[in-house]
């Protein structure tokens, strides 16, 4: 009991830090027009490559400086967050829905269902994911929905594999046989007895996948395959920042930090949630 409580204590700061950052970034993205100090697209060559606020030569109102076209970096990061979060949520949920369902079916029913689903997963995972994504977007055409679709199509296998293994483990538990003894049907048992026990894993994976989706979107933006280049995206800003690294390091460094912290927060948040959700670990 006391051991559990100690565990609970160590979980909390992680949950609050990661959750806090995600909430902050999410709110900023939602209310971007209100929050952003400048228009993210407004160019002003008089203001190009302004340094961040603590360096001499900074202008008030341009907290993180500007890029080589004089656009405000902070505002661009905030607006870029919109795309990042939309992609993260939509792609992760889509991948989760497909992958978890197939994983649950494969793991619980076994036999032919399992063999077919597992083969498909094996083949799927043989493709290098980034190349696969670039290929898909090239075929589907650029744009927000294509990016989301591409990520879901690639990454459902992650859910499928993990949930299948978890489900197999749970299905061997006596309480599954117990439900048969109680007179439940197979699908009823799967949904009633097994599913709630794999939910913590699904939640953790979902959060992790959101982080991954953010990265994949950034990669696609980086190679100019995401949405129209006018809208700021984190990957797009990084790509631009790379070109002016010697003149204005901040244009590369701040979006990188934002990306890393966000991805890390997603994975930490997921782990912490899993612990929270688990009645035994709690």
């Amino acid at each position: 009991m006391d051991e559990n409580r100690a565990q609970g204590r160590s979980v909390s700061p992680r949950l609050w830090l990661a959750g806090g950052w995600l909430l902050l970034a999410l709110l900023a993205a939602i209310f971007a027009p209100l929050v952003a100090p400048q228009d993210p697209l407004a160019q002003d060559l008089m203001l190009e490559r302004l340094p961040p606020f603590w360096i001499d030569g900074a202008e008030p109102g341009y907290w993180l400086g500007t890029d080589s076209l004089g656009r405000d970096l902070l505002s661009r990061l905030i607006f870029g967050g919109r795309i990042a979060f939309i992609v993260a949520f939509a792609a992760a949920f889509a991948a989760c829905l497909v992958g978890s369902t197939l994983g649950l079916v494969a793991g619980y029913f076994g036999g032919w269902a399992d063999r077919i689903i597992s083969r498909i997963v094996d083949v799927w995972m043989a493709f290098p994911p980034v190349l696969f994504a670039i290929l898909l977007v090239a075929v589907l055409g650029t744009g927000l929905s294509s990016v989301i679709l591409a990520i879901a199509i690639i990454d459902w296998t992650r859910f499928c594999r993990v949930i299948r293994a978890e489900t197999m483990g749970q299905s061997r538990m006596d309480y599954v046989e117990n439900a048969r003894i109680a007179g439940y049907g197979r699908i009823g048992i799967m949904l009633r007895e097994v599913l709630p026990n794999v939910v913590p894993s699904i939640v953790a994976l979902l959060s992790l996948e959101m982080g991954i989706a953010v990265i994949v979107e950034a990669i696609l933006s980086f190679v100019n395959l995401s949405i129209s280049t006018d809208d700021p995206t984190w990957g797009g800003i990084i790509a631009e920042g790379r070109l002016s690294i010697h003149q204005a390091w901040w244009v590369l460094v701040f979006p990188l930090i934002t990306l890393i912290v966000t991805v890390l927060s997603f994975s930490q948040f997921g782990e912490a949630l899993k612990t929270r959700f688990d009645p035994v670990l709690r």
């Binding site: 538990m173 006596d174 309480y175 046989e177 117990n178 439900a179 048969r180 003894i181 109680a182 007179g183 439940y184 049907g185 197979r186 007895e193 709630p196 026990n197 009645p279 035994v280």
Partner: protein
């Protein structure tokens, strides 16, 4: 005397042998039960004893039809259930209940005790008056009402096993399979659980198949015993007869190998064949 509750004839069960599964294709079948014949008389406790690999647990699972036999027949209450499909078994399930060895694994961690006990009631058309029925089931096994809202990890091993018993008996089944239900428990808890089962079985007139590796426990609880070894029945008889006058060498060895809690300087030196297993 009424006809037996279970009549088992030529029962064979074969399961896939995963240790011999080839890289590609199906695992070959291994015969776990090799043709068993026996009856379980109504209203009494029958012990099924054997060591690991004897097939006693497989036999139990075949009786409650969690497994389908590959040959032979099982007749339950006059009805042939050998190959009944799952859907046709469902109405029979309320009379074929089971208490599991590991109450940790047999209770769903995400459900409250009340919900675990209520599940079979709801599923078998006894959903009315649910709260009262759950309370009664808890009372029967000596657990206070306050346990209804708890989860399995908040219970001790003995309490968990009480919940397992409560759930199995909530439906007043005709048959209960008890599979090594005390082997994970401490001695003092074991005694409590066994006396509880003994009392309930007598009160409710249950037919119980009591699977155990412990002959001492069997002697206390069971009216007759089936001794199994490697998928066959070595000996089956009334309990007292089996202990007082075991007919088979294996049964005798099994009894002699039990370390009784009393001083016996000669026990270790009995020339029990110490042969290296091959």
């Amino acid at each position: 005397m009424a006809e037996p509750l279970f009549s088992v004839r030529g029962l064979k069960v074969a399961l896939p042998d995963m240790t011999r599964k080839p890289l590609i294709g199906r695992a070959p079948l291994a015969e776990i039960l090799k043709g068993l014949d026996f009856d379980l008389p109504r209203g009494s406790v029958t012990g099924i004893v054997g060591e690991s690999g004897s097939g006693k647990s497989t036999l139990g699972r075949a009786l409650v039809r969690l497994l389908e036999p590959s040959a032979g027949s099982i007749s339950f209450d006059g009805l042939d259930i050998t190959h009944l499909p799952e859907a046709e078994l469902r109405p029979l399930r309320r009379n074929l209940q089971m208490i599991f060895q590991d109450p940790m694994s047999s209770l769903n961690p995400r459900r409250t005790i009340a919900s675990i006990i209520a599940a079979p009631l709801k599923q078998n058309g006894l959903g009315d008056n649910l709260k009262a029925r759950v309370t009664e089931a808890l009372q029967r096994v000596g657990l206070p009402q306050s346990f209804a809202g708890r989860y399995r990890h908040e219970l001790s091993g003995g309490q968990r096993q009480r919940v397992g018993i409560a759930r199995a008996l909530a439906l007043s089944p005709k048959f209960v399979l008890a599979d090594e239900i005390v082997s994970g428990l401490d001695v003092s808890t074991q005694a409590q659980i066994l006396t509880l089962l003994e009392k309930l079985a007598a009160e409710m007139g249950l037919t119980v198949a009591f699977i155990s590796h412990d002959l001492s426990v069997i002697r206390r609880l069971c009216r007759q015993v089936i001794v199994m070894r490697e998928g066959v029945i070595v000996e089956a008889s009334a309990t007292d007869a089996l202990f007082d006058n075991p007919r088979q060498v294996y049964t005798r060895d099994l009894i002699a190998a039990i370390p009784l809690p009393e001083i016996d300087a000669g026990w270790l030196d009995i020339p029990a064949a110490i042969k290296a297993p091959t």
